[in-house]
């Protein structure tokens, strides 16, 4: 904990990252109270209104829907799907890594060969291929990017398990008769925590971008749900007349992802002494 306090005191960029993430989280949580209008209400009389239009501080989109409200509700979707997908990938990946590293032998072989196969695909292509099989949609999009990230966590946890397994304190715990399961859950898993926290923070940004990318291609969140990726996709047809409709959702994705990346960099420097 003192490490963390020291980190934020020392690294202004990590603090800035934390601030960005916190602001986005608060905006997402308070969206129903902060949004001036219902994000889905269509007003064809006010299509593509510019920024600072009366009643629409950030203007409107091609259906006359309030952009500020859609951005705020979009923050909910982005953060929710990004965090859920990350949690899913971290959970399944860590379990795979723990099994592979702790049990070893053929279990390790099977898991690592499966991970190699997943890694044989370019990151985003695999997500697209999974969507091709499951069909477009919010939940399928989350599953797709989660699956793609399983190898990332699997490898981190397996490597940590393998190094912790050989330490003297695990050996002595084993000699004292501590069961293998308890060893895995207490000593080994606890040592995986710091690298996992760093990995999760660094991964959330990529997850949010990947999910927004899928929605941008029409393969993730489906209209009319207000989502940054699909907002960007629709805005392309009106780029000449209403550039702000494209600029704003992209800026929102960028700032959120930047926040997580800066925070993750800071945490890595603080928690992972090898990289200091």
């Amino acid at each position: 904990m003192t490490d963390l306090v020291r980190m934020f005191r020392k690294s202004s960029s990590a603090l800035f990252g934390l601030g960005l993430v916190a602001v986005m989280a608060v905006l997402a949580l308070l969206a129903p109270w902060l949004a001036p209008r219902d994000p889905d209400v269509i007003d064809t009389a006010r299509r593509l209104a510019p920024i600072l239009t009366a009643g629409h501080p950030l203007g409107t989109d091609e259906f006359g829907r309030d952009l500020l409200s859609r951005l705020l509700y979009g923050a909910r979707i982005s953060l929710m799907v990004g965090l859920t997908a990350t949690a899913l990938a971290a959970l399944v990946g860590s379990l795979c890594g723990l099994l592979a590293g702790f049990v070893g032998r053929w279990v390790d072989q099977v898991i690592m060969r499966s991970i190699d196969t997943l890694l044989a695909f370019p990151y985003f292509l695999l997500a697209v291929a999974i969507i091709a099989a499951l069909g477009p949609g919010l939940v399928n999009g989350m599953v797709a990017v989660a699956v793609v990230n399983i190898p990332f966590y699997g490898r981190i946890v397996r490597a940590t398990v393998l190094s912790v397994k050989q330490t003297d304190y695990v050996e002595s715990a084993r000699a004292l008769g501590v069961s293998e399961l308890r060893l895995a859950l207490t000593h080994v898993l606890r040592n995986c925590l710091a690298p996992l926290i760093v990995a999760v923070t660094l991964n959330v940004g990529g997850m949010i971008t990947a999910l927004a990318g899928l929605s941008f291609l029409g393969l993730g969140v489906q209209p009319p749900t207000s989502d940054w990726g699909s907002m960007l996709s629709a805005s392309r047809q009106y780029l000449n007349v209403a550039p702000h409709v494209a600029a704003l959702p992209g800026m929102a994705i960028f700032l959120t992802v930047l926040g997580f990346n800066l925070l993750g960099d800071g945490l890595r420097d603080a928690l992972d002494p090898r990289l200091r």
């Binding site: 499966s114 292509l125 697209v128 091709a132 499951l134 990726g229 960007l232 992209g250 990346n261």
Partner: protein, 323 residues
């Protein structure tokens, strides 16, 4: 790891080639599964709502969907190995020539982007590491973290807005002008998409290169080289950069994967006639053979790139051949 003893580069290359076989097998199983994980009857989905029962039954038979899965896989693989990737129903054409044609455009885009990434990313990464904690390091790493946080599809749209719509320096879409031809015309169309995809990759490359080079700089032999009074320039060139080649090649290999995946988004933004934009349309049209063909081609390319990366390792670092 394989047995100690090696036998030099050819033996290592052969061992590495054999290791790629199970990975390619895994890739083929996953690509095969794309059609079979789909909920419902793929034949009915591919033909759409207007299809008659007889049409669906015929396609069902043609695709061999009434056979057990293992038989279906073996049969499909047999076709793939003979270069037959099936037929696209909406296009009414064989898949292979279609994906190969599109793949050329994707290769043009990714090569352009890779060159930009190498030029910007490697330079920034090396300079940052060598001049760690100076203002140069801070600025280039600040730019890099901004770059990795920018979604490529948004960067592309903003570049179109500025350089195509406002300044009108470059075209906003396509790979060639209706009446233009030749390499110059393609290059002119390539600038914005390649910059979009390349800068994202350059940012990631710069960060990874920096940490790889820093790891080398902290090695004992670098300290010894400094201690024996070698000029800093010589230490960097002879000891640091030479030993950084392998980690940098690793990072470059990974970036090819990022570029091939990111091309899907970039091609869609710029209507670039590559495999990525084709696959997105194919997914929406439920054109499974086309999707499978595209995924198989890109994934196989990536496996081969990684193979080349591993072989380059052994060329630059003879120790690896005997591992």
């Amino acid at each position: 790891m394989a047995a100690v003893g090696g036998g030099g580069l050819p033996a290592y290359a052969l061992r590495r080639l054999l290791l790629a076989v199970p990975v390619l097998f895994g890739v083929s199983v996953l690509v095969f599964a794309v059609l079979h994980l789909a909920p419902g009857d793929p034949a009915a989905i591919m033909l759409g709502a207007q299809a008659t029962k007889e049409d669906v039954a015929r396609l069902h038979r043609d695709l061999g969907l009434d056979q057990p899965l293992v038989i279906q896989y073996v049969r499909w693989m047999g076709h793939v190995l003979r270069g037959d990737l099936g037929r696209s129903i909406p296009l009414g054409r064989a898949v292979l020539p279609e994906v190969l044609l599109r793949f050329k455009a994707t290769l043009v885009l990714t090569t352009g982007a890779l060159l930009i990434a190498i030029l910007l990313g490697l330079a920034a990464g090396i300079v940052s590491a060598v001049r760690q904690y100076t203002w140069l390091d801070r600025i280039s790493m600040g730019v890099a973290v901004t770059g990795v946080s920018l979604p490529v599809f948004w960067t592309g749209i903003m570049l179109i807005l500025l350089f195509a719509l406002q300044l009108q320096w470059f075209p906003s879409s396509g790979m060639s002008s209706p009446y233009g031809s030749g390499v110059a015309d393609v290059l002119w169309h390539l600038v914005l998409p390649a910059v979009t995809l390349g800068t994202a990759s350059a940012a990631a490359l710069a960060r990874l290169t920096r940490s790889s080079v820093l790891e080398i700089i902290r090695q004992d032999y670098v300290r010894s080289a400094r201690a024996k009074g070698l000029a800093e320039r010589a230490v960097i060139a002879r000891h640091v950069l030479k030993n950084s080649i392998n980690p940098i090649i690793t990072v470059l290999g990974l970036q090819v994967g990022f570029l091939l995946g990111g091309a899907i988004l970039t091609e869609t933004v710029f209507s670039w006639p590559g495999l990525g934009s084709m696959m997105v349309r194919a997914i929406q049209a439920r054109d499974y053979p086309l999707v499978q063909g595209g995924v198989l081609l890109i994934a196989t390319t990536f496996v081969l790139v990684n193979l080349v990366v591993d072989l380059l390792y052994a060329v630059f670092d003879p120790r690896i051949r005997y591992d």
